[in-house]
Symmetry: C2
Subunit: 382 residues, 2 copies
Amino acid sequence: MLPTTYLALSGERFRVTYRLTGDEAQAGDKARDICIEQTVEFPEGLLPDGDIREHIVGRIESLQRVSAKSCEVVISYAVETTGFDFVQLLNVMFGNSSIKPGIRVERLDLPDSLLRAFKGPRFGQAGLRALVGVGERPLLCTALKPMGLPPSELAKMAYQVALGGIDLIKDDHGMADQSFASFAERVSRCAEAVARANQETGHNCLYLPNVPGPVDRVVERGLFAKEAGAGGLLVSPGLLGFDAMRLLAADDAIGLPIMAHPAFQGSFVTSPDMGVSHYVLFGQIPRLAGADVTIFPNFGGRFSFSKEDCTLLAQGCVTPMGHIRPIFPAPAGGMTLERVPEMLEVYGRDVIFLIGGGLHQRGPDLTENSRYFRQLVETLAG
Amino acid sequence: MLPTTYLALSGERFRVTYRLTGDEAQAGDKARDICIEQTVEFPEGLLPDGDIREHIVGRIESLQRVSAKSCEVVISYAVETTGFDFVQLLNVMFGNSSIKPGIRVERLDLPDSLLRAFKGPRFGQAGLRALVGVGERPLLCTALKPMGLPPSELAKMAYQVALGGIDLIKDDHGMADQSFASFAERVSRCAEAVARANQETGHNCLYLPNVPGPVDRVVERGLFAKEAGAGGLLVSPGLLGFDAMRLLAADDAIGLPIMAHPAFQGSFVTSPDMGVSHYVLFGQIPRLAGADVTIFPNFGGRFSFSKEDCTLLAQGCVTPMGHIRPIFPAPAGGMTLERVPEMLEVYGRDVIFLIGGGLHQRGPDLTENSRYFRQLVETLAG
């Protein structure tokens, strides 16, 4: 017979806030189900008495009606259920419950005993500002594109925009390791071009190549990029896996800032009743996984995020989380120069303006367009 | 000036079928947008003439109204855009478009030139049947649970169900590397227990431990499991990353069958208008990534999949895909013994019945319950 107390748990728990559809009674049923589903997945009546029933099973901490159709419920879990591993943290938070209707993750509250398991962003807002040497204004970012250009053309583009005063130049996230533009050649040439521009301008523009699959080569690719002179890495955790981003961010030999791209993650935020909130998915999670910048589609662009989604997301980037640094939100996706004033109002100065195609649309001279972009931002928020 | 033809493309293209909301005109607009968004992400008017505009940009192959509210559109992409890499294939298929409303991936059609880049399932249906020595009936699977049991208790449970004639015993996917049940001790003890039962029964029951994070240790964990006598691996690609599953499946030194768990993937199939179809997400994608078995929540259980969803999913497991083997669907999630006849009717014999908590509910003697399960299936589909 199993002893009732043997797990040697610390008593420390982390909290997940879920939004559950239904009135108090319905949400209560759902919440009790989540407590089981996310932990023991076992008929409650057959659970052994003692530690498992009392401490491993999730615990409802509060339940509050927040709208005609839904309640907010806080459930706590023993920190030990996560094994202090990022992947398993995501699992306890939302693994099986992602497949059930009417459950949405709204917020994470992790105690220091769990946060200590994660390095978080190596640079964060302050560290990235120091790297590029920009004190208080928003940082300026653009993307190398379109897919299909040879490395020589991409490098030319990188040189031109760096010369114009862009702070961060990232690959388009579709730049992988393709026959027409290999990872190695693209990274070497673009890093060299940006270094050359920096010598002329005296700026510290960073080039952030996209790290493609396979996942077993990401560290090798990160080291190659570092060696070639890249100033950071672009990672799509929805594609490569969230833990691959954490791995790259935590690698001391690489030691570069990480920019997270939202590709393949849209389905998580499709519905207000299911999935994961913008606050958690693009704020808290990338921070835990070590991103210094989180790219997301700005409201009013060619994607489907609302202004409120974006505001909450930006809050997730800076909300206090123990030693985990605040990071930059980088609204993008059809951004144009005309929208800079409005975006400043919404995001404030601690933001990265990522403008891709829009920088090309102003005219054929990319250096001139970049200068204009920089002057515009310096004038409005210098 | 860039030459117009320089990319040396093969002309080979792969096709993605999208379901787009709207009438023909609206879907046509969406489709043209996808062709750009999934490839060049660049203002169409500024694209250089030649290869990029003609071959890199996606191409609409067909557009057909399929309901009052939606159309099915087939878009083809040059195989070279994927870099013949699984992660980038997912990206071209649905990276940014996952964030736009009214777009759902319905089906993949990949030419041999692209399929050759993937090993696919090492065993598939026939190979797994050979491993467990079961000719034509459905395979029987159960899970070790609940989280919180020490390895000794889990091993006892594994021994009992193996003795009763279960074919496949997997860890619950919440079994990670926790203080109360370390990966190493759990795997060693459970594998030993199953081997002992096999000696008594003459069967070839396989034990499939869950591979937890971090992602940089999955291969090491797979090798440890193999060494300890495990007969396969349970992987949650939604948590670890799809490519981590491919990596484990493709590793010849590990060489074990892979069972895919759907944790954290529910949001992809939340909406009929967005995300990825069950056919692709739980059928075609895990096959490409090397899973031999794909677990999913059965209709009528405690999750939200419909009978039609499950039927389409099962079709995705066996639809012809070049050299990529057909795999087993494993309906689960609140399955009970009473439902075996109905499930046989829906899935046929090439299925794995995964019953977890339901096996415990019949009574305290797990060996007896397992024997009953096996006899039931042998009687109905022997």
